[in-house]
């Protein structure tokens, strides 16, 4: 962790009732280390063909903007006002009631008024008023309008890269104003003048070039999957098949790349492999679409479309029937709310049917894509899984609803249904922090970098605080979730705010509890740790 | 997606609602109607107070009369010219204005005002 991070007590000293002495328009942004992300490396921006790739840094005075940057931005705004009803509407109908203010995790963690969603949008709205409304042109500041200056642009960068597009504010807004929409558009505008972050652009560039965010090459991908097969064999005694590029398989399994690259994601992958083997599912990975996640969503809609297109493209080539999407948050925002519109119709696929239970997932007959928690819940409902829940008895688990499957889909019960079936100790966090009111991990939407650790820890405070509550009250020692970013971002967050709580995916517990046909006597869980009561087993 | 049909429907509904007074009154054929209360022939040329005052504030007077009569036994109202009247809706007002439907109701109906007088008082109009 960066040395610049203050202590928890210092960070938590926030006063929501205190506002800066000066009007927000007169309070310039300050680029303290730990609160912002590095600029995108030029080579990646160039590879993507992004506008005006250049070397710059947020903490320097000169950002190297193109000469006509103001015209570019205003032209970009005009274009988007014509393309998105949401944008124009959200620029015009906010009444500044303030209901959204203390709903944003970044505001709750920083008490910075510009992190109130209303004011975050106002950063853009003030410019909209100045250049696109008569009142703003004539009355200026009195109408809440202001000139687009470099300082304003810097403010945009700071605060629109301090929004994780989690949509919690939109839940409470009486008009449904969605800051995620505003942030997405603001980031597109910044991108037009070459202002992007490395943590977003690099994964996007990797994904476009190699097929996944992490830059795992085709052969390494295969090695990693094979490695997982070996690990699983060591634990269970069963060698599963994990086909890649299997033409004519029934199901295409799409996972976020972290699942085969990072911990604790990897244990979830082991869970999928065990489950799909045990249910004898005829599935395949795609060697080309090795990424379900989509950082393009955090940069530009067209880029998002381009990255997403690979999934249907390779599903078509592989001649699969339908797609099974693994545990990943923003991947599911795209698969659920964008994929069909961007790259559909998927008329070459079939409505998903579970080969085990015969259930037809008719609600997915458009996208032909279902969530693995839905798939597993259906298996459990039909009693198809032979389980030993006690193997998860060391875990006292709570569930963190990831923003995107929560507020962009409504996937609340499926993961809980699975959890309750595969483990004995499950408790919920307080109701204002779960389900549709869930709090972000603080690192979504491309903010999960290390250089902005202070911002992440602040943004993650409400989530961590709720975990702390159940940790202290019920002894919760594991936070489960269905998002790859969560799995990457939550461990350091919890280590900082509530040490002693681990992070795990749902299917890790499924894999632990699953009794596989012909398995050896299980002594270790998927993490390689001894199972409850098997601490003395020889091979540990 | 534009939802053109839904939006046009919405605009039409909005305009119909906002312009309700226009089409409603026009349909009823009474757009230009102005009330013309009739002073009964049996009335003289004087009231208990000047006409101007009565037009705007008769309800205050009646309210005061009622309270005074019921609660304090005050029976007499002295007009500006010194004439004494009994504080009574039926015995004083309605004696002259013996045509409620042509006098009282004309304006009350016009304005949708429903005075509570008639909750208790029974009106026997002349000639009925």
């Amino acid at each position: 962790m960066a040395e610049t991070v203050p202590s928890p007590a210092e960070l938590a000293a926030v006063d929501y009732e205190k506002t800066p002495p000066k009007n927000w328009m007169d309070t310039p942004v300050e680029f303290r280390p730990g609160t912002w992300c590095y600029a995108a490396p030029v080579k990646h921006a160039e590879f993507l063909g992004l506008p005006h790739p250049h070397k710059w840094s947020p903490n320097e005075e000169d950002w190297g903007l193109p000469e006509n940057w103001r015209e570019i931005i205003l032209e970009g705004m005009k274009e988007r006002l014509e393309k998105y009803r949401s944008f124009r509407l959200f620029m015009e109908i906010c009444v500044r009631c303030g209901a959204c203010a203390d709903k944003c995790h970044f505001f709750l963690g920083s008490a910075d008024p510009k992190n109130m969603p209303v004011l975050r949008a106002e950063l853009l709205r003030s410019v909209y008023k100045r250049y696109f409304t008569k009142a703003g042109r004539m009355l200026g500041r009195l109408a809440g309008a202001r000139d687009l200056t470099v300082e304003v642009l810097k403010e945009w960068f700071y605060y629109f890269y301090q929004c994780t597009e989690c949509r919690r504010c939109s839940l409470f807004c009486p008009y449904g104003i969605d800051t995620a929409e505003v942030t997405m558009i603001a980031r597109e505008l910044l991108c037009l003048v070459g202002i992007t972050t490395g943590w977003v652009v690099e994964p996007v560039s990797n994904c476009l070039r190699m097929g996944n965010h992490l830059g795992v090459r085709p052969n390494t991908f295969k090695d990693n999957i094979d490695f997982a097969v070996e690990d699983l064999e060591e634990i269970t005694g069963i060698r599963v098949e994990a086909p890649i590029d299997k033409r004519g398989a029934e199901v295409l399994l799409v996972v976020p790349s972290a699942d085969y690259f990072a911990n604790p994601h990897y244990f979830t992958l082991l869970g999928y492999l065990a489950l799909l083997h045990e249910m004898d599912i005829d599935y395949t990975f795609s060697p080309y679409a090795t990424e379900g996640g989509n950082f393009g969503l955090f940069l530009d809609k067209y880029v998002a479309k381009k990255l997403n297109a690979k999934i249907y493209e390779d599903a078509k080539r592989l001649k699969v029937k339908w797609i099974l999407g693994a545990e990943c948050g923003h991947m599911w925002r795209v698969l659920h709310q964008y994929m069909d519109t961007m790259n559909g119709p998927a008329d070459f696929l079939e409505t998903p049917v579970s080969p085990v239970t015969g259930t037809r997932f008719d609600y997915a007959k458009g996208t032909k894509t279902i969530h693995i928690c839905e798939f597993t819940a259906d298996l459990l409902r039909h009693g198809k899984l032979n389980l030993d829940k006690s193997r998860n008895d060391d875990y006292v688990v709570t569930f963190h609803d990831s923003c995107n499957p929560a507020r962009g889909m409504g996937l609340f019960e499926e993961p809980r249904y699975v959890l309750r079936h595969v483990l004995n100790h499950f408790v919920e966090m307080p109701e204002n922090t779960i389900r549709e009111q869930t709090f972000c991990c603080g690192g979504g939407a491309g903010l999960g970098s290390d250089e902005n650790m202070e911002a992440r820890l602040r943004g993650g405070l409400p989530r961590a605080n709720a975990v702390k509550y159940v940790h202290e009250k019920y002894g919760v020692n594991t936070l489960s979730c269905i998002c790859a970013i969560d799995k990457a971002v939550l461990p350091p967050l919890l280590e900082y705010w509530v040490p002693g709580v681990a992070v795990a995916g749902i299917h890790e517990f499924v894999g632990n509890a699953l009794i596989m046909k012909g398995e050896k006597e299980r002594t270790r869980n998927l993490r390689g740790e001894p199972l409850p009561g098997k601490e003395d087993a020889g091979d540990v | 997606m534009y939802d053109k049909g839904k939006i046009i429907t919405g605009i039409v509904v909005f305009l119909l609602l906002v312009l309700f007074p226009v089409w409603y009154s026009a349909l009823a054929g009474r757009t230009g109607h102005v009330p013309d209360p009739v002073i009964s022939k049996s009335a003289g040329d004087r009231c208990v107070e000047p006409a101007e005052y009565m037009r705007s504030s008769h309800m205050d007077l009646l309210d005061a009369w009622r309270d005074d009569y019921v609660r304090h036994g005050g029976r007499a109202h002295v007009a500006p010219d010194g004439t004494r009247y009994e504080k009574s809706l039926v015995n004083t007002c309605l004696r002259c204005h013996d045509n409620k439907s042509e006098f009282c109701d004309r304006c009350h109906d016009y304005l949708g005002a429903k005075p509570i007088c008639w909750d208790c008082h029974v009106v026997v109009e002349r000639g009925r």
Partner: protein, 332 residues
């Protein structure tokens, strides 16, 4: 500053109307021209604003899902929070528009020792907003008696219900009291809550003060000044029939013109302000769309064609690695 300017602006409007119809004798201007212009601006401005919004497409279906999705049939779903079809979406909108469903969720966060973040349900804003809007609507409907002939039954009934308590003469309307209480709350909130004060602009104070002005001047007309309401109605009906009644114009006093002028200002200002949330709420794509994303395709009219890097480019770039992995990568 923003509040002061807005306040002075409303005071200025009052003075203009009072002076214009009192000393200057401009009854025709304030009683005929201004109302006609205001109504025209309101109607055209409102429709124009909706048309501007409507001309931009909704490229993606992005409902904010506030409850369990309708998916697996053994898991109960929440149709009003996460509507799976047109009917349930309509009901969600009804709840949103008539009951302020989203605002009803409001909570207040507090940081306590520990650190411990606690959230408490906070319904005041919901209540204040709801009371204000409903009272306003009922008051508008009650005014129909000045603009309709014969007065429709529902307006008369409303009048009776509103004056139910029969205190004061003319009876005190419950809605008048309610809107004043709600407005007081909304004004005080803007002044007393530091975050809300920090975000408040002239565009927030001005309509608020203007509505306070409308309500106070209206209450004054009813409870204190005893306006000749027959003349008021004659004036209203004259405007509706496009035959303004000159006698009626002279029959109402300057106090009435103050009320009328403030109302005219409000409705003429309406289409150019945040008050357009009245129309906007119906168009909000996070609320008015069903969560049928995986069921039916939502079409984006400007969906850009795919260009650039292809599968073949990838195969070319990673020839060696692909060979090493042993992928066949067959294609028809």
């Amino acid at each position: 500053m923003n509040a002061l300017v807005s306040f002075l602006l409303v005071v200025g409007l009052v003075l203009i109307a009072a002076a214009g119809t009192g000393a200057a004798g401009l009854q025709t201007l304030f009683g005929v021209v201004v109302p006609y212009v205001a109504i025209l601006v309101f109607l055209l401005g409102f429709v124009r604003r909706i048309v501007i919004w409507a001309r931009a497409p909704v490229p993606f279906r992005i409902p904010t899902t506030a409850g369990q999705q309708k998916a697996l049939d053994f898991l109960p779903y929440q149709p009003l929070e996460n509507p799976p079809g047109a009917g349930t979406t309509f009901l969600r909108m009804v709840l949103e528009v008539l009951c302020f469903r989203s605002l009803f969720r409001n909570t207040r966060a507090e940081m306590r020792e520990g650190p411990r973040l606690v959230y408490a349900s906070r319904k005041w804003l919901w209540l204040g907003g709801l009371v204000f809007h409903w009272a306003f609507l009922l008051i508008v409907l009650r005014h129909l008696r000045f603009f309709t002939e014969p007065v429709p039954g529902f307006a008369e009934a409303l009048e009776r219900v509103d004056g139910f308590f029969e205190v004061l003469l003319p009876e005190l309307y419950v809605t008048d009291l309610a809107i004043l209480v709600a407005l007081t709350y909304l004004v005080l909130r803007r002044f007393l809550s530091p975050p809300v004060r920090y975000i408040s602009q002239a565009a927030d104070y001005f309509p608020l003060f203007l509505i306070v002005g409308v309500v106070l001047s209206g209450a004054y007309l009813r409870y204190l000044s005893r306006t000749d309401i027959v003349a008021v109605k004659a004036l209203g009906m004259g405007l509706l029939s496009f035959h303004p009644d000159p006698a009626a114009l002279r029959g109402v006093g300057a106090q009435f013109y103050v009320h009328l002028f403030l109302v005219c200002t409000l409705i003429a200002y309406f289409p150019f302000s945040k008050l357009m949330h009245l129309g906007g709420v119906f168009l909000s794509p996070t609320r008015n769309l069903a969560n049928t994303n995986r069921l039916t395709r939502h079409v984006n009219p400007w969906n850009p064609p795919l260009k650039g890097r292809t599968f073949e480019d990838w195969m070319e770039d990673f020839k060696e690695e692909i060979a090493q992995a042993g992928y066949k990568l067959e294609r028809d």
